[in-house]
Symmetry: C2
Subunit: 254 residues, 2 copies
């Protein structure tokens, strides 16, 4: 049974402030929680229905600090979803280290990404295309938001996510002569641009793009050409997470 | 003022059955409705707040059959969103013609896509990459679902969407020697496969992929290679709309 105390504690982690204080985040969903457990990720609290708990092997329970059998009604209370899944886990947020050396690999930098779903799919795409580091401006949505965690489908464990002063970070990159590729609507075609194996791929806000103070650090503007009919109304751009997938694909395949 | 009659009529169009009977669908959102109007798309009903209506030029009003000034509360009632926008339009669904000749262009075929958001982003990606035709299996989510329309961001007007017996359609394609590219997790790398300028790009269900009875019509299995670390847990696949973006990009850039 889930005590009132525990219920409130878990619900509090839906808020960024509490997640930061506790250094914990929520993972929701049978499949994803099961994957965390199978991978041996240390779990602080597992709140799940008894069938789910009984399906765990002894060795799998070892990495779980506290297991709480819960009813559907209890899960509904702590879930951020309309219809709760059978399992919810509380997991440690990794330390927010600073990335100061960009040489030798590709990084993604996000400037004011607001939508948790977009953040999650960008993380998923980065993990798929083998990009290990994601640098987020301080005003990006929290990557450990329950919706982001869900959209990332476990990929959040495969990449390092840094929150930093993006201006300062890109300034350092410029000084180190690391290319900064800015995704815009008026850059060079990504298909025809020379893409390095190291560098920073910078993606901007969903409606405003890359902000002014950040864009000055861009060393190469890139864009995904439009292949539709000219003057087609209504198709201004690709969604940022779709654009991210295409851009990452182009960098990786070369 | 929005009468009770009109309110119920508009709400009814959130249901597929009513949309089919009336051959009408709902477009929500200031920006997208404004784009429909600017493009001269015939609008059956415009329900919007008076500020929005006053911003229209006389010529823009010509393509609107009925204009109803509405309050926030009235918009809230007819909206499928938690927080309504300032404008909602009712628009004709184009006739569902059948596509029987696939030569000369690329088409997308969707096998049991369930999520309206995915459907919308696939439509948006197709429009961006210049793909004009989308053939949907009968069990796909309705493309004129309000959530799909919203996710497509107007791109729904740029592509032809057909609902059909997908087996029959692909059978015809096979007989016409049109390649059918099936997106799978075990196909040939899309980066190394010969991609034709005509053909059908087949995408399967979000969790089950391409169904068995459909997969026999695939003439070339393709996949997006995984570039992450081996045995990375949690990253089984890209989301179907991200995969669609990458695949369409590969076809278009060549």
């Amino acid at each position: 049974m889930l005590s009132k105390n525990r219920t409130n504690y878990i619900i509090s982690l839906q808020k960024k402030k509490s997640r930061e204080n506790e250094k914990l985040y929520i993972v929701e969903g049978d499949k994803i929680v099961m994957e965390y457990i199978s991978a041996g990720v240390p779990i602080k609290i597992l709140a799940a229905n008894p069938v789910f708990i009984n399906s765990l092997r002894g060795s799998e329970k070892n990495s779980i600090e506290e297991i709480i059998p819960t009813t559907y009604e209890e899960l509904k209370k702590i879930s951020s979803l309309k219809t709760p899944h059978n399992a919810l886990a509380i997991v440690n947020i990794p330390d927010n280290i600073t990335l100061n050396n960009f040489s030798g690999s590709l990084c993604v930098a996000l400037d004011f990404i607001q939508d948790p779903g977009n953040m999650g799919t960008i993380i998923r795409a980065a993990a798929w295309f083998g990009i290990k580091h994601i640098i987020c401006s301080a005003n990006c949505v929290d990557a450990f938001n329950p919706k982001t965690v869900q959209a990332s489908m476990g990929a959040i464990l495969q990449v390092n996510i840094f929150y930093s002063d993006l201006e300062k970070t890109l300034y350092i990159a410029n000084r180190q002569n690391i290319p900064v590729y800015g995704a815009t609507l008026d850059g060079d075609s990504i298909y025809e641009t020379n893409l390095s194996k190291e560098g920073i791929i910078l993606l901007g806000n969903e409606s405003r793009g890359i902000s002014k103070n950040i864009s000055r650090y861009v060393t190469q503007k890139i864009m995904i050409p439009f292949f539709g009919e000219k003057n087609s109304f209504g198709i201004e751009s690709l969604n940022v997470s779709m654009a991210a997938s295409v851009i990452f694909s182009e960098f990786s395949r070369r």
